[in-house]
Symmetry: C2
Subunit: 109 residues, 2 copies
DNA sequence: TCTTTTTATCGTAATATTACAATATAATGG
DNA sequence: CCATTATATTGTAATATTACGATAAAAAGA
C-alpha cells in the first residue's frame, strides 16, 4: 500500500509524527544546525556548506518550511531562512512532555 | 536516486536522524504511548488497540526495536515490550540539547 | 504429538522519499 | 532590456516505506 492510515490516529499523534518526519533526515538536521549556529538568518550559504545539489537542498528547505520549523523571507535576490520560534518552542515542549511521560516501571521484564 | 547520502553527514547527525525516523510515524508514536501509559511491559494487547493488521504492527515494533527505543522479552507464548530506558534518556537529552541550542537572534529578518 | 495462541517473516502492491539535471522564475545591476 | 545571481520547480530514476494476506515459527496446554 504505502500510505499511512492517518485517520485511525489522534490529531496529536499525527501532528507530532509530521514534525518528527520533517526533522528525521541528516541533511535537514544539518540545515537546522547551520541556521542555529549562525545565530542569524542564513541567506544562500547552505549549498556550499552541505555536499548536496542546489535542487536537493531547496527541496529539504521546503519540507522544513512546510512543517513550520523554519521561515524564509525574500531579501533581494536571495532568501533568508531562520528558525520559526513558535513552532520550535511548541515542538520542544511537546517532545519534552512525551519523553518525560515515561517513568521506569517497577514491575517489568 | 532515493538513498540518503549518509557519508557526507556527521555521526551525530545520522544517529539523531535515525532515531527521529523511528519515532516519525503515528502508529509508532501510538505504540510508544501505549507502552508508557501501561507503565509496565505490554504483552500482545497492541494489535487490538490500534486499528492495524498484526503484520503491520510487528513491522513497526521491529523498527522501534532496531532503533533501540524499545526492547522485547519473550514471555512464554507472547513477547513483552517495554521502553529501553538508556536509549530513551539518551535521545531525550540529545534532542533537548538540540532544541535548547537555538537562541532567538537579535538581528534577523 | 497435535492443536492453539502469539508473534515474526515473506511476498507483494501502492505510495513516498531522495537526489539530481534541466529549466523556470524573480530580483538586481548594468 | 539584457545579463547575472539566487532560489524554486519539474521531470525522472532509484530506493524506501507502509500495509496486508499468507505462511512460518515457537511455546503452552490437551
Amino acid at each position: 500500500m504505502g500510505l499511512t492510515k492517518t485517520e485511525i490516529f489522534t490529531e496529536g499523534q499525527n501532528r507530532l509524527a509530521v514534525m518528527l518526519k520533517a526533522m528525521a533526515h541528516p541533511a535537514r538536521i544539518a540545515i537546522l544546525e547551520q541556521i542555529i549556529n549562525a545565530n542569524t538568518c542564513i541567506c544562500g550559504d547552505l549549498v556550499e556548506e552541505l555536499g548536496l545539489a542546489q535542487a536537493t537542498i531547496s527541496q529539504h528547505l521546503k519540507e522544513l518550511k512546510n512543517a513550520g520549523l523554519i521561515q524564509g523571507t525574500i531579501e533581494g535576490v536571495s532568501v533568508c531562512y531562520c528558525i520559526e520560534p513558535k513552532t520550535w518552542e511548541l515542538l520542544h515542549k511537546n517532545l519534552d512532555g512525551f519523553f518525560r511521560s515515561y517513568k521506569e516501571p517497577a514491575n517489568c521484564c
